[in-house]
Symmetry: C2
């Protein structure tokens, strides 16, 4: 480590290559206006000196940062999957990502605040608990795309999975296997929970199973699924659709401990297709969100807002897809 040494700048490269700073800048940006021979020489010198462009200075001058801020929650496995997709999509659109995490001791406000200082050109927000009004006040400064949540505000773009459709797919799958008594474990106050619940109810009615509708209170955690399972055990249905995979895992555990076989006695469908659901141990039938589509559309919206292109509908809703594993089968008897 040579922390005492000054950072290499354009000026250093220029001096060494016997050319002006502006010329080196041209070469570095790959802009037209430099002879091939000069270009090669400058690049060689830059390489030798270990020149690294200073994105801050670049940004300061050019006004553009080509930087998109992303707020994600460290605790949410699905956010990590989505990050992967987002990096790809941003790269393809010529933007960089700058990440700001929400942790148990670091709130959304802090996370967003850091991004605002970083001068990114738009913010992509994963879920979270911010109120619409607060989102809007951020959106008055720079474009905001909210993912995996909804918002009534006209100034906030929204990109999310079609939660209602996902529930329909789950119910359709179970009905096609012959189930009729299908219950739903709710997600409580978490974003998307209401949509998944009403989707389930609609689908049940569509199949003429309105009388079998049964919604059990729940939440996003494993313990919520476990508690819901305890309630269901009093009068078990032949199948359950659960708000998310984690909750479904808790439910599965309690079912097993009480001697019920899955899918022999009861079928279970989760939601999100997280890595958890893919574990051989669990191997949960679930509803998978289309990560690439979500990421691509989110970046597309952000870029359109930044570049001022008038851009279709404010909300983008992506269809999910049923992933069949081994927790669903024909009903008993």
């Amino acid at each position: 480590m040579r922390s005492g040494e000054r950072r290499i700048t354009l000026a250093d490269v220029a001096a060494e290559a016997g050319v002006s700073v502006a010329c080196v800048s041209i070469v570095m940006r790959g802009a037209p206006g430099a002879a091939e021979t000069t270009r090669e020489r400058v690049l060689k010198v830059a390489q030798e000196l270990g020149y690294q462009p200073d994105s801050r200075a670049r940004l300061l001058r050019s006004g553009r940062s080509r930087l998109l801020g992303v707020v994600f929650d460290v605790r949410h496995p699905f956010h990590h999957d989505l990050l992967t997709g987002l990096y790809d999509a941003a790269g393809a659109a010529g933007y960089q990502l700058t990440l700001s995490a929400v942790t148990p001791r670091r709130g959304e406000r802090t996370a967003v605040g850091d991004l605002l200082q970083d001068r990114c050109e738009a913010i992509v927000l994963f879920g979270g608990t911010m109120r619409s009004a607060e989102l809007a006040s951020i959106a008055s400064r720079l474009p905001v795309v909210a993912m995996m949540r909804s918002s009534r505000r006209r100034d906030v773009d929204v990109v999310h999975n079609d939660d209602a459709l996902g529930s329909h797919q789950a119910v359709d799958h179970l009905v096609s296997l012959g189930h009729r008594r299908i219950a739903h474990v709710d997600g409580g106050t978490v974003h998307g929970s209401a949509e998944r619940r009403t989707g389930y109810q609609e689908a049940m009615r569509r199949h003429g199973l309105g009388e079998h509708i049964r919604v059990v209170p729940g939440g996003a955690g494993e313990e919520d699924g476990a508690a819901a399972a305890a309630r269901l055990l009093i009068d078990p249905p032949t199948a359950v659709t659960v708000f998310n995979d984690l909750s479904a895992t808790g439910l599965l555990d309690v079912l097993h401990r009480n001697g019920l076989r899955v899918p022999g006695d009861i079928s279970v469908v989760g939601y999100d297709d997280t890595s958890l659901s893919r574990l051989a141990h669990i191997d949960l039938t679930t509803i998978g969100q289309d990560i690439d589509a979500l990421a691509t559309r989110a970046i597309q919206r952000a870029v359109q807002r930044i570049e001022g292109t008038p851009s279709g509908p404010r909300a983008v809703i992506i269809a999910p897809k049923l992933v069949v594993r081994t927790t669903t089968g024909a009903p008993p008897g």
Copy 2:
């Protein structure tokens, strides 16, 4: 969204408050040299105009960014836990974090490259597959702290868990329960794997169980644990220590499918205490890393390097702690 509007700068605030740019800067930084009345007025104007300091310009001028870069892997649950600790520790030390993720399609080199452009003052690297020589070439530019991996280089700081000690704790625990035939499922080429393996071997010998040493090849994934379980089934030991929780989960699954009861027939110990091991379904006895200690020490080392304080030993090794859950018990018979 008012994307057309110019960003509010110090100059705007200065003009509005009838004072010089330098004076506003003083107030904003909370530096001494401004009268209380002026301070209040300036702050009020700044508030009204919605002034946001531009961290890039600030940095460009002051040379210091008080920014620490972190490279983490989106796929590794333990990295997320560690991020939480790191945000806390960095905040306490007066530094900000800037994150750069490694994803299946975004390598460590890219991740590090982005951070170098961002002008952070040091880099904290989680695990990864970079060679020591490559680390060193980064370390020649700015301080590097590597976590959860080792490095022979003198110019790279290293902060990690005492893997050998962790294995000792696992073996000690099993021996105290009465086990003698204890096998170990290896982690392959992943960082820490060799230390965990030799720790197991040493501990076995220390207990006079050298003849029972049995190392089964494995890896970091669930499928590696499953494959190892298949081998073990030919002649099952009474207990197994596994490289990590994910692999242990795969192993547990195969054991269950083959009718072995855990811990009745065989005890299993994982490593890392990830959220996975805490699932009621799995409830795995494991070795927990001390996240707060790891994070605090890593930040401490980075800051010491940045500020040029001569700083004790190059490697910081933190003791892990056994977490007993329900996959360990007395051996059969």
